[in-house]
Symmetry: D2
Subunit: 337 residues, 4 copies
């Protein structure tokens, strides 16, 4: 089956190319990227010398496409593809929010196809596996929401969390993309840790949307603060919430294990997870615990932001859409150390 | 005035040596370090070639000493010095907690001199300036408590925080010291972020002790989770707490500015602080803000864990004890980038 | 086919486990590791949770074994295995040097089985493919020699280099292994670059042995200086040598391309290679050029020290020994960024 | 005395501001920076909050100015200042080369004031102290030449090196400046080492110019290859050259110690130097040794590229120009770890 990537030259796009090359059931047939159109993929990315493809301005004939365009521009690419009958996994934020006014308030413009917001499946397989399988458009979750939702979903679903939630995320710098900026300039980002987007990060409405679906009765009050830490890959998310009932550590772990028993890419860890334990892989490690002194729930998750947080999850979604085993092409173990 | 350092060979000790060398009013006269006794300081630390001192097994005649020994061992060194009339700034945890049973429960043994726990000044000058000035024994705060207490003190004092407090700290690896361990082995710590001490970190009781002093009526429920991020120096602390009253952002900043108006080493920042902005300096940057969506207070602080979090603060305490201007020898600006 | 790893707990051992797990033609059946004997592999290395094996004190029944023991101890493990008919790829230095007195002068003790030194194949497939295929004992090259020999072999073979050779290598810290030491302590190695082993590194005799085989008439005078740079993986080797004839850049590149035309894991690069372009993969990038001002040959190579410099090359050797395609199980592309 | 900085917003400019703030004998009175004109220094660089200055478009009245402009633009700023009688230390490359055609061939345009090339002092105090003291224009050396020349000068002067010289330099990323570029984007530079400028780096003619002055009879054939390593600050330079005479290690060290006996910022080290041992300081560590197997001279130097390689050396030059002790304001010890 022929697959395409729109905008292969960003970090999500190039990671898609790496992973699709290793996928035994599909063929990466067409790649686009405006600034690099006309160049071979290996010229721009020498580490991909094994892939013999030229970057084009327009996508060729494919049956399924990944869009790794920035938001707003992605919708423009995706709509005509759907009209042609091409199924799409959109890595941008353009189809993640169900509510058009919410989209407008966070992204600053009116969504071109609000009806598609309703139709698109939110591509977190652990929550929406069936819907993804039959979707023609899957909105791949943001990197932070992937880590945060997977950390909190079992507890919210079980009504262990009812109100205050604090999500403190620490991301590697590749999450900010390949576009140059002062905060991602090496000498600025190295040996530095800082919070950002304290006025509100665009990934917050994704998180609240999905948590509400898990427990519509709860009125969750979520504070989300992202941080940049000096590493290339990885997101560690530490979540804090008062525990509604007197759950014990052991019951909590069992609840989580049960929730994820059919999820091949979520593992409930026995010890606090390290982002390094997911490096280059599609695995999400989740570690729920109870702060005995305060009765507060603390859940930590670790992912590779470019794999489970972007390209790997997109391929996981593609596998579901194509009726393949969810893990196809994603079996590689994390690279350590 | 002659000054000594007990255990110069750890990171706090060697940082003390660097800073005291630049201090115009005191003379670093004697240094000890068991493993390196007999060697010159510059043999062990070539960057200190400017200091011509030999590491000894026993401290020579000094009027004031810094102890950079590990806890338990530090108390053994400090007690005889006090008896000889030497004033001491203890960088270890041995005299930070006022309550002997609390000390025992966290450190696992009975404190040898409970009466000294009461007497010792908690060496956070921004809270205990007067007591420090006249103390013969100052307990230098832990690195995490320094960042956390300075972030929260104005709000707790003003009764803006009454109950739940979450403290999420991100520390550079030098905070774990110079002693070898697998988590601080380069290939393990590099490109990795993880939480640790989820069962309870020894810096927690320091934080709660000091916050309670600021508002004895409040029944604060504090969860503190430390994280290791891949950088050498720096602690970023992000604090979250429901805001008791409807304080506005601007009033909050004014409250903080007022609280720290006489503190030369705390600056209320105009933008989220970066640890890099404190690198090598004794400055603490504090940034209070309100999450408008939830009304939650979010306060972020940044310090260099080895300076304001250890050696620099110890010298700030020494300055107060000696009646010198608090900033003497600590004027160097942060090294950036 | 059942395969074993002796000493799985070092970085080469654990990387072998990762790569063998993905190998479609062999089964990782037995692993040893003294300090961790009795523990499951995933307890010690959570990122390997996919592999269900217990670390044992003694190797079980296997047809081929990798020894990732330190030198001296490795020979003790390898000899009885060979006697039992198990084929071995030894990752230690114990069988790399052909000359027993040379071994003794560098390693400080008399080799227990000098006859095996003669028999063992030096496991650089690009030079000794046929010998490796039929060997019962393959000595996997050191990480530095792999990068240096692959950079210089075509030029030495073609007699373009006759005398002076300078090899300046820059290695990531994982090359120093998982054993704790001050130079590999995070806060020491981070933000630091230094040379070491200026009195002579044990990888030098490997390099000279192999270069002499390529041109026995040449009397090469080789200076090799290794450096540690603050990254986890990767070796960049920059080689300098006067060019014996007036070769032009273009002819030089053709010579190199021709030399490596059948080598799937060496690519003659079009631009100066980056270690990151080999991260996690078995690829070696080689870039030969002529310094036009001096007529000096400059050749740069880049490898991942734990893959082509250790575990990956060991599997490449195993593939040859088993008559499998050389690339089996090693097709994964580098992980970038 | 009033001092100015032209273009304070690059890394050399901002480091000048940091160091001048601590200088007891001069007053930083005026700073310029086109893109940031009108902003306060502390807005752009919060770590400099201690300095109360506004960035202007034009330099105010000063007696001595530092120009931290890029080459070509720097000459345009410097010439009118000299005409007004302001003494200048130029951090750009514009006045480093004595030979106008050489300048043109490396920088691609005809130098506007060739007579100033002859007049300007090459600001390496260890070689040109007297000339610098009386100069009205000092050309501050490049970062690589500083490390390379200080490593080689004693040997070249003593005629120990007569022909082939290889200079392999490893630089931290701040050497590439604050201007955004893909190679200095965090995710590209982190966990990567690579060589660059193999076709010839503009610092090469500086190095050869100065080495020739030390031994005009020698016909040195110099190959210089710079590398980027993943750290913010520091340059390690490893130099290789056949030793003309049979100098022994000990004599060599004595020769170097004697050469630098009056140089407060060069220390002949007892062990291979680490860049970290110079972090934030103006010190250059030099380590000469003989490769016993080949008789080749190997000399290693370490500097902080932004201090001895730029701003610190500029202040050292200013001190000489003003008749101050060379070390004034530069006494701070390196920050370690």
């Amino acid at each position: 089956m022929k697959i395409g990537i729109i905008n292969v030259t960003g970090y999500a796009g190039v990671e898609l190319a790496r992973l699709l090359y290793q996928h035994p059931q599909v063929e990466l047939a067409s790649i686009t990227g405006r600034s690099a159109a006309g160049q071979s993929l290996s010229e721009v990315f020498p580490h991909l010398a094994g892939i013999d493809l030229t970057i084009k301005a327009e996508l060729g004939d494919v049956e399924l496409a990944f869009s790794a365009m920035p938001h707003k521009e992605s919708a423009k690419e995706v709509i005509p593809l759907l009209e042609k009958g091409v199924r799409v996994v959109d890595i941008s934020a353009d189809f993640r929010l169900k509510d058009a006014p919410e989209y407008q308030s966070w992204y600053g413009f009116s969504h071109p196809t609000p009806q598609l917001l309703k139709e698109a499946a939110y591509g977190l397989p652990e929550l929406h596996r069936a819907q993804i399988a039959s979707a023609r458009l899957v909105a791949n979750p943001g990197c932070y929401p992937t880590g945060a939702i997977l950390a909190l979903a079992p507890a919210v679903k079980a009504k262990l969390i009812k109100a205050d939630v604090v999500i403190d995320s620490k991301s590697g710098v590749s999450g900010a993309g390949r576009t140059l900026s002062l905060p991602t300039h090496y000498s600025e980002a190295n040996e530095d840790t800082a919070a950002y987007a304290l006025e509100g990060h665009r990934h917050l409405p994704e998180i609240t949307q999905e948590l509400k679906l898990l427990n519509p009765q709860a009125s969750l009050s979520v504070t989300f603060v992202p941080h940049l830490v000096p590493m290339t890959r990885g997101i560690l998310t530490t979540c804090y919430a008062p525990l509604a009932s007197g759950k014990k550590e052991k019951e909590l772990k069992e609840l989580y294990r049960d929730f994820y028993k059919d999820a091949p890419f979520v593992r409930v860890a026995d010890a606090p997870p390290h982002t390094k334990q997911t490096w280059g892989s599609n695995m999400c490690l989740v570690y729920p615990t109870v702060d005995q002194r305060t009765g507060r729930l603390v859940v930590i998750s670790a992912i590779d932001n470019l794999v489970k947080g972007a390209a790997g999850q997109a391929i996981q979604n593609m596998n579901l859409m194509l009726g393949l085993p969810e893990t196809t092409g994603l079996e590689a173990l994390p690279v350590y150390p």
